[in-house]
């Protein structure tokens, strides 16, 4: 199993009111799966994704990622895991403005093992070429279409060759054609062995996944 969740609880404290976001969530996701997490807003799907992404820690329960118990790790160790094992794809792309596509892709490499500049550029170039952006490498995000921006973001997610990609509404800001392109790309990456966990509320998009996890009121149904 790539991901093993056991009895995970998470409560958000909001102005003296406790809002339970996750209640006794247990789940397994094997390596090579393509999972869509669905649910209404407030169902806890974003909280779950944040936990899976090691951006947040569960209040109780266990989370094993790639055989390592990560629920009790310190912030530096979690940063290392985010860097090596997880690639993030966001709804709003989150590319640095006034920074070229290539530099955006190289960003995670700065926080990993020291790497020579030549090698960094080689890696980003290979990935961007593969995603069909070879003649957009020196463009800034503002000069790219939404679909192109999301592909730059995916290249960035892949640059450290992580086993897991976490996508939060990756097509939410895209027109349907670009959305289909991105989903086709996800399927292709998944066929190559990368595990993908994607949060979406669109059934059309969830169709691309091999498995759908439905969430309601902080629990998997």
């Amino acid at each position: 199993m790539l991901i093993t969740l056991r009895n995970v609880n998470k409560v958000y404290h909001m102005e003296s009111v406790d809002v339970p976001a996750l209640q006794n969530v247990s789940s397994d996701i094997a390596a090579g799966e393509f999972v869509a997490i669905m649910g209404h807003s407030g169902s806890g799907k974003s909280t779950l994704l944040n936990l899976l992404g090691c951006l947040d820690k569960p209040d109780s329960g266990s989370y094993q990622l790639d055989g390592e118990e990560v629920s009790r790790l310190g912030s530096d160790a979690l940063a290392r895991i985010r860097n090596r094992k997880i690639g993030f794809v966001f709804q709003n792309f989150n590319l640095l403005p006034r920074t070229t596509a290539q530099e955006n892709v190289e960003l995670p490499l700065y926080y990993g093992a020291p790497m020579r500049g030549v090698e960094r550029r080689e890696r980003s170039k290979t990935l961007l070429t593969r995603l069909g952006l070879q003649d957009r490498m020196q463009h800034h995000p503002g000069q790219l279409s939404g679909g192109q921006q999301q592909r730059v973001a995916i290249a960035r997610a892949l640059v450290n060759q992580p086993p897991l990609i976490l996508a939060d509404e990756p097509t939410g800001n895209l027109d349907s054609r670009s959305a289909d392109d991105i989903m086709a790309l996800f399927q292709e990456l998944n066929r190559e062995g990368i595990t993908i966990v994607m949060v979406t509320h669109e059934p059309d998009i969830a169709k691309y996944a091999k498995r759908v996890i439905q969430m309601r009121d902080g629990a998997i149904v």
Binding site: L55, A79, N94, T99, L107
Partner: protein, 407 residues
């Protein structure tokens, strides 16, 4: 993350906001530039004053007659007429450290050459005067020992007097009238410039002391206003003063309990005063520099806080991509330091530039102090660290989830 890469990331962020980066650094730039320029001018002035003091003469020592005590009243320095040329000769003979001596008699008079007249001071001295004051004759020659003995009516003109009386005409060999007595001009002294205390040293006439005493002051005595000595070095100054004091007390037949009837002065006191003034100036500058650096630093802190707020999403993203909190901290800290350091460097350039402009425009002597430059660099970088710390700490403390959600 390697330090070089951190600096590169910071530089990139600053270059992305060129205009704002420049404006932010402006406080530091102006502060440092002002300090460098003012220190340069101040140092130049101080060096200039020192050189003027040394232009007084080589290792100069002055003796003035003391105060007169009569019936309980004590007059000021110089009220007593008990210092003589013979005293000077005796000191020159007996004190080995004294290499040259001249008496000095001072009087003032109206001088006339044809239709030009000019009121100036007249100094009566002996032939060692040029040595003692390290003051050369540019045209003509100094008077001789026999001119002194015969109380010859000869004189040398200071540059100002020569200009005023002769208006470009050659003065050497001409005769001027001092108190309606004819004096032959033997030569003109080299221009000496303005003294540290503002007096024009060239506005004077030099004549044999005996001439001044007998002819101009109509005195039968050998009293002098002042004795000037050149010492071989200033190292043994206290001993030399002791020695001279002993000789004079003996010659003036003072009892062991009596006060000195003379005053020995040397230039170290004046030098000390100048050192003190320049110390005060340095302190004042330090205060101004500190204030401008603090103001500049607050500017940097302000902009860095804005940057942290503005770039919250970027920070969240970097955290998600694997940046540790200390990486974020370093990024913003380095940005602040690069900002202030670059501001410091630009300020140094600007300061040196404006100091040179001041120097050429006003003919002020300026001296760029390497110490000030070094301090400026160190302090501007220090300001970056100090004022960049809080914004950087705020940035590093951000929650990645909330930061990513921020629009």
């Amino acid at each position: 993350m390697k330090g070089l890469i951190t600096i590169r990331i910071a530089m990139r962020a600053l270059v992305r906001n060129k205009g704002r980066s420049l404006l932010t650094a402006l406080g530091i730039i102006i502060g440092i530039a002002a300090v460098i320029a003012v220190v340069a001018v101040g140092q130049g002035a101080s060096v200039n004053m020192r050189s003027q003091i040394s232009s007084m003469g080589n290792n100069l020592l002055l003796i003035f007659p003391g105060s007169q005590n009569s019936g309980g009243f004590r007059g000021g320095s110089g009220t007593q007429q008990n210092l003589t040329e013979e005293d000077g000769e005796a000191i020159l003979q007996e004190c080995l450290s004294v290499t040259a001596m001249t008496p000095l008699l001072r009087t003032g008079a109206q001088c006339i050459y044809r239709e030009n007249d000019w009121a100036t001071s007249i100094q009566g001295v002996n032939i060692q005067f040029p040595d003692v004051r390290s003051w050369d004759v540019t045209s003509g020659a100094f008077f001789s020992e026999s001119d002194i003995r015969s109380a010859a009516r000869v004189c040398l003109l200071g540059k100002t007097v020569a200009d005023q009386l002769f208006q470009g005409e050659e003065p050497v060999g001409k005769t001027i009238r001092i108190r309606n007595m004819p004096f032959r001009v033997l030569g003109v002294m080299a221009p000496k410039g303005t003294a540290a205390w503002g007096q024009d040293q060239d506005d004077t006439i030099i004549a044999p002391w005996v001439t001044v005493s007998r002819v101009l002051q109509r005195s039968r005595f050998n009293n002098v206003n002042q004795l000037m000595f050149s010492l071989d070095s200033m190292d043994s100054l206290p001993q030399v003063k002791e020695e001279i004091s002993g000789i004079l007390r003996q010659r003036h037949r003072l009892n062991s309990g009596a006060d000195d009837d003379f005053t020995i002065m040397d230039m170290t006191e004046v030098t000390q005063m100048i050192t003190q003034v320049s110390k005060l100036m340095t302190m004042l500058l330090t205060v101004i520099a500190s204030i401008s650096l603090i103001v500049g630093g607050i500017g940097i802190m302000n902009i860095m806080l804005v940057a942290v707020t503005e770039r919250t999403r970027e920070i969240g993203l970097r955290l998600a991509l694997g940046a540790r909190r200390r990486d974020i901290m370093m990024q913003f800290l380095v940005e602040a330091v690069v900002l202030s350091g670059a501001g410091g460097l630009i300020g140094i350039g600007l300061g040196i530039g404006s100091a040179n402009i001041l120097a050429t425009a006003n003919h002020w002597p300026v001296m760029i102090s390497p110490v000030a430059v070094l301090l400026a660099i160190t302090f501007s970088a220090g300001v970056g660290i100090f004022f960049g710390f809080y914004p950087a700490w705020r940035a590093a403390r951000l929650n990645p989830i909330e930061s990513l959600r921020r629009e």
